[in-house]
Structures are given as C-alpha cells and as structure tokens.
Subunit: 195 residues, 2 copies
C-alpha cells in the first residue's frame, strides 16, 4: 500500500484547480465535418486572467464491441483519411441529433457490418479528447451478434468486415494492428465485463 496519507481528493501539491467561467462562445468556422468554436474563459484562481480557447463542437460518438456466439469479434477495415492508411477498428459512428446512443450504436453496427445482436449493454464512456472536443463516446457490448442484413454504406465509405477470435485481440493491440485510441479504450472496458 501507499505511504500517501492525505485525503486523495486534495491534490498532492496543494495547488488549486477549478472550473473556469466560460463566456462569449462564438462560431469560428465550419469546414467539412468540423465546427470550430472559440470561447473566452476566466480563471477561477487568478482574478482578471482571461484566455481564449478554440475547440471542436462535435456530436457524441458510439462504438460497438459485437461478439458472435462462438466468441469472435466483429472488426472493420477501412481507409482513414486523417492518418492516410487502412485501419482495423470496431464499428461505430456519430449519434444523430435526438437519437438514443444505444440505438445509434446498433444502427452503425448494422449499417457498417450487417450484424445485429440479441443483447446489448453500455460498458463504458470516454471523453475522446477533453482538451479539444466537447463530446463523449459510449461503448456498447453486443452479445450473440449475427449477420442478418446487408451493410448500408455512405457513398464514400468502403468497409470490409473481418472476424477475429476474441482471444487474439490482445495480440492485435500489442502488435499495433489495432491502434485507434477509442478502440483500445473500448477494449479496456471489456476487461471489466464478465462474459
């Protein structure tokens, strides 16, 4: 155990942090899928200290760990234009305005892979990047997933479905074959679940 005998809610160095007071949100630019907003915010610790910060206003995201009855995970391969390479990921996408996040995850799973499942649960939630994004990403676990329909892809989406034994997943992460941070975070939540 630890020799750290202070209240863990008190920072070790006694420094103060707290919520800044944001104001004057303005739309900076809309470009492609990005909406950038600029905000002015006042420090809670230093009166008069005000900064300007730019962040991406994004819809919430959802990703899905879908497992077949024989313990395979449903993965997808697609070219990603940010990194400029084909990646190996779990299915996922954005939650539409007013859409339930579980419904969104099941919709993305079906659209991208043609798989549906009989049991679904939320196993975790992350902030994809709290410094630059204002959204959250929810991870769903879908059990007894089966291919029941044809994928429905957007014009610019080219996706291949690839099944892998669940037991191979740690090796795929260690080898860097799976390297998307949101996918690895999702797989981390799976470690907390009794399958």
């Amino acid at each position: 155990m630890s020799n750290h005998d202070q209240d863990p809610s008190v920072p070790a160095d006694g420094a103060l942090v707290g919520d800044w007071n944001p104001h004057d949100v303005e739309l900076l630019v809309e470009a492609g899928i990005f909406t950038l907003r600029k905000i002015r915010a006042a420090s809670p610790t230093e009166p008069g200290k005000v900064g300007e910060f730019v962040y991406i206003d994004a819809p919430d995201w959802v990703n899905v760990i879908a497992l077949t009855a024989d313990e395979q995970i449903v993965l997808i391969e697609q070219y990603r234009h940010g990194i400029g390479a084909v990646t190996l990921e779990i299915p996922g996408g954005s939650v539409d305005d007013g859409e339930d996040r579980v419904a969104a995850g099941l919709r993305e799973l079906a659209e991208e892979t043609g798989y549906t499942g009989e049991r679904v649960e939320v196993i975790g939630t992350v902030t994809p990047n709290p410094a630059i994004l204002n959204n959250i990403c929810t991870t769903l676990l879908v059990i007894n997933a089966e291919r029941t329909c044809e994928p429905v892809l957007d014009t610019m989406e080219e996706i291949a479905v690839r099944l892998e034994p669940l037991e191979r997943v740690p090796e795929l992460v260690r080898e860097g074959k799976i390297d998307h941070s949101l996918v690895i975070a999702a797989l981390h939540f799976l470690d907390f679940v009794d399958l």
Copy 2:
C-alpha cells in the same frame, strides 16, 4: 476457439479496401491550435470516385505513466476547455518540431508535475483518431519517478498534481473519474508490462 478457417488477412465478406490516392492537399484554416487541411482522394476500388476530406494536421503527442518507487502513479488535474470540466489525467503534451518523443515526454512530465525518473521506456503508440487527425500519441513508462524540480506552467495552464496508488487506477477508470480515451489507452498498454 473459432470455426473461422479462412486466412485472417482476408476480410470475412470478401470486400475490398485499400489505400486511397490522396492529392491536392490544401490549407483550409488555421484557428487557435488547429490547422485544418482539405484533401482530395481517389478510391482504389471505384475508378472515377473522388471525395474531399477535411482533417486536422496536428503535431504528435506523448503521454507519460510515471510511477514512484512506492507504486504511486503521478496524475494531474486540470480544467479542459473542450469538455468544460476538470479532468484527471496522466501528464503529456505535444512533441515539438524536431524533438525526440521520449525527450518530449520527460519534458512534459517535468514541466507539468516537477517529476523526473531514472528509467523510461516506450510502452505503446496509438492513433488518437485516424479519421480526423494525422498524428500519433506515444505512451512512456517512467519508473522510480521523484519530485525533483518545480513545475513550469504556461500562463493559461493551471495544474494540480495528485498521487494515487497504482492499484486504485482500475477503480478510477471504472467509476469514470479517469475518462480521457488517450489516458485509458495508455493504461491498457501498462497491462502488457511486467512491473
């Protein structure tokens, strides 16, 4: 085991995916820390299909799991303007132009927390978001970390250092106290390390 007897490098549905041919990269906007670029790219599977895609051109990032001799992890609390809340994270930041990523991680650790360490290794690398970012994030493990200097913070940075027993970390993730995807991915890599 699996009844999946095909070559795992062949997608289960036989669909083709491949590298798109990017061209005509243009600077779209520079705003705050964001540089947005627009690219045109041609599909490898459908002749004549060309799309336009916007991504964030970002420096590489690095984050650091620093452990003290008595198995505490060095965490930081700070207000994050994207999500608009105080978060609990591991130290980290951007790799400067021309800077070595290990040097960058040790610099960020010292600047944000005042901790330095005697052993350091790279334990993993992720793409923070291959769809919208072109960068990678490297995770360092620093062993026998000690507070040896004063933090050096930027004007707008307010950071509190907080030590937690390493064994409490899974609970902090499960409870959502730690919810930054890059931090959770870093902690996932720690599971692969013999400490």
